[in-house]
Amino acid sequence: MAAPMLRWVGRGRLWTFARVDGGSCHRRGAPTGSTSNRIRGQSSVAQQPLYTTQKPRKGEHKWAAVVGLEIHAQISSNSKLFSGSQVRFSAPPNSLVSFFDASLPGTLPVLNRRCVEAAVMTGLALNCHINKKSLFDRKHYFYADLPAGYQITQQRLPIAVNGSLTYGVCAGKKQSQVIPKTVRIKQIQLEQDSGKSLHDDLRSQTLIDLNRAGVGLLEVVLEPDLSCGEEAAAAVRELQLILQALGTSQANMAEGQLRVDANISVHHPGEPLGVRTEVKNLNSIRFLAKAIDYEIQRQIDELENGGEILNETRSFHHQLGCTMSMRDKEGKQDYRFMPEPNLPPLVLYDATSLPAGADPQQVINIDQIRETLPELPRVTRERLVQQYGMLLEHSFTLLNEVGLLEFFQNVIKETRAEPKKVTSWVLNTFLGYLKQQNLAVSESPVTPSALAELLDLLDSRTISSAAAKQVFEELWKGEGKTPGQIVSEKQLELMEDRGSLEQLCHSVMEAHPQVVMDLKEGNPRAINKLIGLVRKATQSRADPAMIKEILEKKLSS
């Protein structure tokens, strides 16, 4: 389950940047000079180290890290990229495999229209230039889960190029400010997925399931504009939200629908880029950030000890929290790219170039696709801020937590209470309870209707806010009672009777003459003690503002 990403990852990571340019990762793009002082202060705070490092030596140069990501997203379609077999997460082994997927001789690829549309939608959402003509190539390498011995991809001329992805990084003292950052997108290409290998070390064999072989993938290549794990995680999270909003991929990392490889190198600012390593086997956003930060630090340590970085592939081991070399006997791969001879160029059209009288099934109109793009996360957030007057940070949290936005909108629909109240209750109280018990929104014992009813009671001043919190705690037990029932059972209604409240205030004042003396002698804060005593006496059933008003009237009389 994804934690509110932006809040979690930032904390506890800062100490690693004590030696990486004094926290340049966060400082970059900071709006004013004053923030850099705050950040510098943060990075010198000693946090509990996860692993040992050396103390910085005197006169040491600063380091900057460069991170590039290659993201593979499985296209959400009924059938595969070049064949008509089904795309499904789990099924009996080799049951979703056609003759083409098994690479039997004489079979030919036939391009799936839906996959092309998905690629165009994604390209448009990421501000890419869509190539009206793109080409397919073969990338050759031998592996048992690639029956053809090559993968059909788009190396020379991909379907979309030169885009950008804007994401938000938490900064500021309380991680409450969101700083927008952008990473450039080099290209988006269509390619085939490979099958799955299950390694049976005991019997020294590998079992191959080709169900996944031939499934359409979108490879999104990011330029190396990222500089740390937190940025990478935030960028990937935003891409995930975009793909899910578009419906082009379910982008679930745990199910392998979104896979990320990171290319990482370090260098001194102003000097040429260092040797990069590729880190694979990152199957959650959390591990992605961890692995990148570990690798950056490992490279820094290695270079500072006079060692060198090898251009190799490394795998992240999450139990140990480190990357390890996947050294292959084969050495550097030569993929021998060649044009795919069985596929003509892919030609796309727009409103102006659309040939007259063309079969609509056989042509793809970029302009038409652009018009039907759904609302993107960035726009959704802006709309939430405009419509409900919430802070940008709040909108990030609402979108980052799976199902939270829907929950919020359902509560808004059913309650009379002000949107700001709803925002506060959903993001603070509701989300707080979820986090404490490590639950997803879907597992919540409190339904949107229940919370809406509770907020109505609060809004109509039937109960006080302290009482409301009590009711919420009762609701969380999930015993099926409505807020109204709980209120009457526990007699939490606000005292309406001013007369009896005045009597109570009077008796409290009589019982505590020292406090009254204190107040009369000019200690204004003593009134809070009185208010507290009255509240206790009323079992939180009185409005504190009214209590204060009555007490003040009594004291002045």
Partner: protein, 136 residues
């Protein structure tokens, strides 16, 4: 085909495209080194068993090199003889699959509906370590 090349002569080349570079013998001297043969054998799993095979490869490259005699400045490369054809777009419907039994019959070894493969790639031994083995 020749007249077509002539008529395209004045078209400007497409910028920024990655062409495929030739790794074998960029100088054009016609000799293939032992390292290149080893590299090719590993990549393509082809066995250049004899000196004659290598000579045949060298002749093939020399034959293809004759293309360099043509002046292709300003001519857009042809990627595919299908370039004037329309790429057919299939509707996203499930029409194939569910033939595991048939497919598994092709495999020498099968375990519970999985194909069985060796545990990872077996790298080709180096040229001097190679033993002569029968060609099937």
């Amino acid at each position: 085909m020749w007249s077509r090349l002539v008529s395209l002569g004045l078209r400007a080349p497409v910028g920024g495209r990655q062409g495929f570079t030739s790794k074998v013998d960029p100088q054009g001297s016609g000799r293939i080194t032992v390292q290149v043969i080893e590299h090719l054998e590993r990549l393509a799993l082809v066995d250049f068993g004899s000196r004659e095979a290598v000579a045949r490869l060298e002749k093939a490259i020399a034959f293809a090199d004759r293309l360099r005699a043509v002046d292709t400045d300003g001519v857009e490369p042809m990627e595919s003889v299908l370039e004037d054809r329309c790429l057919y777009l299939r509707s996203d419907n499930v029409v194939e699959g569910n033939c595991a039994d048939e497919l598994l019959q092709n495999s020498h070894r099968v375990v519970e509906e999985y194909f069985v493969a060796p545990p990872g790639n077996i790298s080709l031994p180096k040229l001097d370590e190679q033993e002569p083995f029968p060609h099937s």
